[in-house]
Symmetry: C2
Subunit: 274 residues, 2 copies
């Protein structure tokens, strides 16, 4: 894949970079950021961002670079949707269309030609990691909508991702307003088809990992009860014996301040698995 | 002083907060951010931001909070200018007017009623730290225009600030385009009056600190030669025997990625002095 490095800032002896490339999957230009430590890279943690984010939020706000300096592990953060299009309703709301790709393959007439973020990750980003960055092993984590993305990819593609974690994930999108709006718009009204992109439903359907999934959830998160529904995945994980650690954190909200506080723990979790 | 806390996010067991208050100095509402660790606070490091910044840049991007957790030291970041005004030429360029207060007391007809950021720091922020936050000791640091601010305040108010450091500071603003434009606009054409706000000129005029000033400067900084002129303060510091450490860092630029890489060293420098 031909990558065009459009930004590079030295950070903790390595580099924070931003790349653009033409995507055959989304049929648009796509952008992602990386942190590449000074050392020869062997592994990557993939970070999937939440609603409204671009490839830049994590890399500027999470403070993750300092925990990866001196390791053989890079980080890669894709953008959250195709850009530069003007599809029906694409730019009208923060929780659908641009900035809100939900890491699925759209099937509705308006979105099926471009919004294939699931395939973008699996068929372009993963190969780019192997071929352009010589990465051997990959783990995955994300926040909110990106936590949902990390969980569905981690459950469905268990061989590809060595470990999975999430901050404030949407664990049961078929049962919350964000998920219902997005899935209706991208997948149409066949609710059965939604389940392949719902972490809790995937566990119910028998998708499992042999390792422990890690979730971090703030108890002062304004979306905790209405959108995230962390308890739903906990009870199903118990039923199907999926190992799952959920750390509930008193007083923490949905912001990057929460992520920055516990990102060291999640990076260490993935470094141990890689 | 009556403060209105408008944001609060739990971070590393403490809180990242944003406050608004009415300023008698700028005759506007002013905004500042803080990180207040969980522990009882005794000291504060004041951070002054650079051109175009608000009170939010440092607190979201520098990754400083993790180095202050568990300490008795808070951080406070003022905004870089008064806001909500519409003075002549105030919003036309990134390097003058809003976002570019230069930590001085303006004397020109257009700006003298509001742009008094020097007095804002000394007569409002410092008293707020003592009275509202029970802070005993204060240190000061900043970036670019804010590095200039930290140096002039640290040299002129040596008794108030226990230690002084700067990232990529404008060390000789009377001799560079950013400084000349700002000083002409805020102070008029009497160049003699500019020298009270020029760190290099202050050293020449006999202002000194008994402790060592710390400067961090990236060698890939796009403003290094044209605007920052770090060598000018080095040679004058040698002449007047002001202890000064300048760390030149190969490959680092003017960005917050540079700041985030070395902020731990600067925080430790101030913690040692406080």
């Amino acid at each position: 894949m031909e990558l065009n490095k459009i930004k590079s800032n030295k950070t903790f002896s390595g580099h924070t970079n931003v790349y653009k490339h033409q995507s055959a999957i989304t049929k648009t230009e796509m952008t992602f950021s990386t942190f590449e430590p000074q050392e020869k890279v062997k592994n990557c943690i993939l970070w999937l961002s939440g609603l409204t984010c671009t490839e830049e939020n994590f890399i500027t706000k999470a403070g993750a670079q300092c925990y990866l300096k001196g390791t053989d592990t890079m980080i890669l953060c894709p953008d959250t949707s195709p850009r530069g299009l003007d599809l029906p309703n694409e730019h009208e709301s923060y929780d659908f269309g641009s900035g809100a790709g939900f890491y699925l393959n759209a099937t509705t007439a308006d979105y099926k030609d471009h919004y294939h973020m699931y395939d973008y990750i699996m068929k372009e980003v993963v190969p780019i990691l192997h071929e352009n960055f010589n990465v051997e092993n990959i783990s995955i984590m994300g926040h909110s909508m990106g936590g949902h993305g990390a969980l569905i990819l981690g459950l469905r593609e268990a061989d590809t991702f060595k470990s999975v974690s999430a901050f404030s994930p949407i664990v049961n999108p078929t049962q919350c307003p964000w998920g219902e709006k997005a899935f209706m718009g991208y997948l149409g009204d066949d609710r059965e088809s939604w389940k392949q992109y719902d972490p809790t439903e995937l566990l119910k359907a028998g998708k499992k990992r042999s390792d422990t999934i890690l979730i971090e959830q703030g108890l002062a998160d304004e979306f905790f009860e209405g959108q995230l529904k962390t308890g739903n995945i906990e009870s199903v994980a118990r039923e199907v014996s999926q190992k799952l650690t959920v750390n509930y954190r008193d007083g923490y909200d949905h912001s990057y301040y929460f992520i920055s506080t516990f990102i060291e723990d999640h990076i260490q979790f993935h470094l141990n698995a890689l």
